[in-house]
């Protein structure tokens, strides 16, 4: 099976779904690029290259470059979705949620329920998350917890190319609005990815590593940092189980709880800020539904409660590191009442 990067996996999923279903359209800023310029059309293919090549096969009618106009992009995609298309709208950086939130959370997310179950809103919003590129406070956030907190939205946060392709195809075939969060530093990360289209169901976590001493729940880039920490810890005789929920809404509570029944110890690792986020949510899940199994208080490793700093040294401190994860695991494992 071929190794493919997350970028390739996403691109392939888009190609395959657009071939399969003429209602699938891609819309966003610079998704092709070069419109009304003297240079090449499709010179961008999305600022991260994920939509490259689509316009040559599907044309301007289905690969739609827009002005810089996020509210209208999101709203138009939501409107088109209820009117018969299956748009994949791109929000270049999740930080730009700020200028289009209404169309996502008051409109798209609410249609199905608010209209008494009559509406289908097969909309995918692809967006990017993550710090680590020196992009500072307005281009580095991980805001999936905001999407997760909104009834009516589904939220996908893949950590590898195999998951990215299968989850994106599921998202496109889903009849509810789905926000698909891609980490900017992981686009080149490769895994084996089948050439055929396939679907990964939402709400099914992936157990990335098995271990009996502590359960680490991590998303996106933090899955890899947790694995790094787990390798170091294994040398100390601590075996970590690492669970990647893959979708934060719906969340696979069962896999987390089952693991906790065995390990009795929980660490949640999250690149997002600490308040009202996934780490709190999952820690609360443990307290609520696995209290009897817990041998230590659930612990969280998150970004600090600050915006993302610019200076590389500060940004490095900002992002949870394998060392911080390992230290937290030692603390959880060493806990005595």
């Amino acid at each position: 099976m071929a190794l493919k990067s997350i970028r390739q996996a996403i691109n392939e999923a888009l190609f395959q779904e657009m071939r399969r279903d003429p209602r699938v359209v891609v819309i966003g800023e610079d998704v092709a690029g070069g419109a009304a310029t003297a240079g090449e059309r499709d010179c961008a293919g999305g600022v991260f290259g994920t939509t490259k090549g689509l316009i040559a096969e599907f044309g301007e009618g289905r690969v739609i470059d827009t002005p810089i106009t996020e509210s209208a992009i999101m709203g138009a995609a939501a409107g088109a979705a209820v009117a018969g298309l299956r748009p994949v709208a791109e929000l270049m950086f999740c930080d730009f949620l700020g200028v289009c939130f209404d169309q996502i959370f008051n409109q798209a997310a609410k249609f199905r329920y608010m209209f008494g179950g009559k509406a289908k809103t097969p909309l995918v919003i692809r967006t990017t998350i993550g710090a680590g590129r020196g992009s500072a406070a307005q281009h580095s956030q991980s805001l999936y917890h905001i999407f997760t907190s909104i009834p009516g939205l589904k939220c996908v946060v893949p950590s590898n190319a195999y998951d990215a392709k299968g989850l994106l195809i599921s998202a496109i075939r889903d009849d509810d609005p789905v926000v698909f969060c891609e980490h900017k530093l992981m686009y080149d990360l490769q895994t084996e990815v089948p050439d055929e289209p396939y679907r990964i169901p939402f709400g099914e976590a992936s157990v990335v590593r098995e271990g009996d001493d502590v359960t680490i729940v991590a998303l996106s880039r933090m899955v890899h940092y947790s694995l790094e920490a787990a390798l170091a810890l294994a040398r100390e005789g601590i075996e970590c189980e690492i669970i990647d929920p893959r979708t934060t809404s719906p969340l696979d509570e069962e896999t987390i709880l089952e693991s906790l029944e065995r390990t009795g110890r929980l660490l949640v690792v999250d690149e997002a800020t600490p308040r009202c986020g996934l780490a709190v949510d999952i820690a609360a899940l443990a307290a609520d539904k696995a209290f009897a199994a817990l041998k230590a208080p659930p612990k969280r490793v998150t970004a600090p409660f600050t915006p993302v700093p610019f200076a590389p040294s500060l940004e490095k401190l900002y992002i949870p590191s394998p060392e911080r994860i390992a230290a937290a695991v030692r603390e959880v494992v060493g806990y005595r009442r």
């Binding site: 099976m1 195999y162 299968g166 089948p194 055929e196 289209p197 396939y198 679907r199 990964i200 169901p201 099914e204 992936s206 157990v207 098995e210 271990g211 009996d212 294994a234 005789g237 075996e239 069962e254 896999t255």
Partner: protein
């Protein structure tokens, strides 16, 4: 000191194994073991297997803790005579060639499946080995793929060319099917052999693949040197429909786990990875439909449609039957009914997957058959 100090290292079972997890030691440090005795349980990416010691010895020091995941070649324990001193053991451990080297050799690219086009259909196969012997073709069971032979194919490949085929609708082969019945599958297998320049072949088929192999042998006996049927279809009407239906329906880990656990004598042996591999296959577009077609063609109404018992008995070539004592998919009775007519080997400690649960024993039986 009598006898050498030797290393017990993480074995490489099958081609893709790069690491294994110590599930449990069946002997304690300081204990002796006899030849053929089970000493250790190791979980691989597919299934948990036991490590049997080829000769008697003394387990002087255990270095790998239960639960640890280690690369192929890593030092697990030291085998040494009782009178070897601790200092000698220490020196041996300290001087043991770094597992880096072993890990490196383990990561040498495993042979990859290839594609062959037969009648406009892409079929995937894994070819291993070369030699004088007549080539051997492996045909897997319902919903499985060529990887199910990973524990036996390398052993058989020592003396001959071996080909493990993904049947139509399965593994890396095209998912589009006609009827998905034995005739279609046998034709595909025959086409693959022709394309690969194989004139005569030993056949080993498991479950549905056994049915295909038997069908092929009955229709084209001149091509077939021998036929090994493992927990095979086509030998009686009964089949556990709970498995086939559950397998088709399963889209989540829990459901898949439930269905797959029927395959093995001890569900604890199933690794999460094996379940995940099955799900990865089942998630592909077209697979569910292909499986439904195959199930309908082979087991529609919960009964096997193919019955080759009489034809097999009349075959003028060597045929053997291998079955797990605790098979919960196709009843052992199908094998027992053939006792007296054909060589029938019933393996203890195996369910429906003798080639995985009792890989060494199965490989031995296949080798004995393929080398005549």
């Amino acid at each position: 000191m009598s006898g050498p100090i030797t290393a017990l290292t993480m074995p490489k079972w099958g081609l893709v194994m790069s690491e294994g997890k110590i599930v449990s030691w069946k002997k304690r440090q300081g204990e002796s073991f006899a030849a053929g005795e089970e000493i250790l349980e190791i979980e691989t990416t597919k299934i948990t297997n036991v490590m049997e010691m080829p000769q008697a010895g003394h387990l002087r020091r255990i270095l790998a803790a239960e639960g640890a995941t280690l690369p192929v070649g890593a030092l697990l324990a030291v085998i040494a005579p009782e009178n070897a001193s601790d200092t000698e053991i220490d020196a041996f451990v300290a001087g043991f060639a770094a597992p880096e080297a072993a890990a490196e050799s383990a990561s040498v690219a495993a042979p990859a499946p290839q594609m062959v086009e037969v009648g406009g259909r892409r079929l995937s196969y894994l070819e291993l080995g070369e030699g004088e012997g007549t080539p051997l073709l492996f045909l897997h069971g319902f919903g499985a793929d060529l990887n199910s032979w990973m524990f036996v194919q390398p052993a058989l490949a020592v003396a001959r060319r071996t080909i493990a085929l993904d049947l139509p609708g399965h593994g890396g082969s095209a998912k589009e099917l006609g009827k998905g019945d034995a005739a279609e599958m046998a034709e595909a297998a025959l086409g693959a052999l022709e394309a690969l320049g194989v004139a005569h072949v030993h056949l080993a088929g498991h479950s549905l693949g056994g049915g295909v192999a038997a069908f092929l042998a009955c229709r084209r006996p001149e091509k077939v040197k021998s036929l090994s049927l493992l927990a095979s279809a086509g030998l009686g009407p009964e089949i556990n429909a709970a498995f086939t239906e559950g397998f088709i329906r399963a889209s989540r880990r829990r459901e898949a786990q439930e269905a797959l656990s029927l395959l093995v004598h001890d569900p604890a042996l199933l690794s999460r990875r094996m379940v995940e591999d099955v799900l990865r296959y089942k998630r592909l577009d077209g697979v569910e439909r292909a499986l439904e077609q195959v199930a309908e063609a082979w087991f529609g109404g919960g009964r096997q449609r193919l019955d080759l018992r009489d034809e097999i008995a009349a075959l003028n070539l060597p045929v053997q039957v291998i079955w797990g004592r605790e098979d919960r998919i196709i009843p052992l009775a199908h094998a027992e009914a053939l006792q007296g007519k054909l060589p029938v080997h019933i393996l203890e400690g195996a369910g429906h997957l003798p080639h995985m649960e009792r890989a060494e024993a199965t490989a031995g039986l296949l080798e004995a058959f393929a080398s005549v």
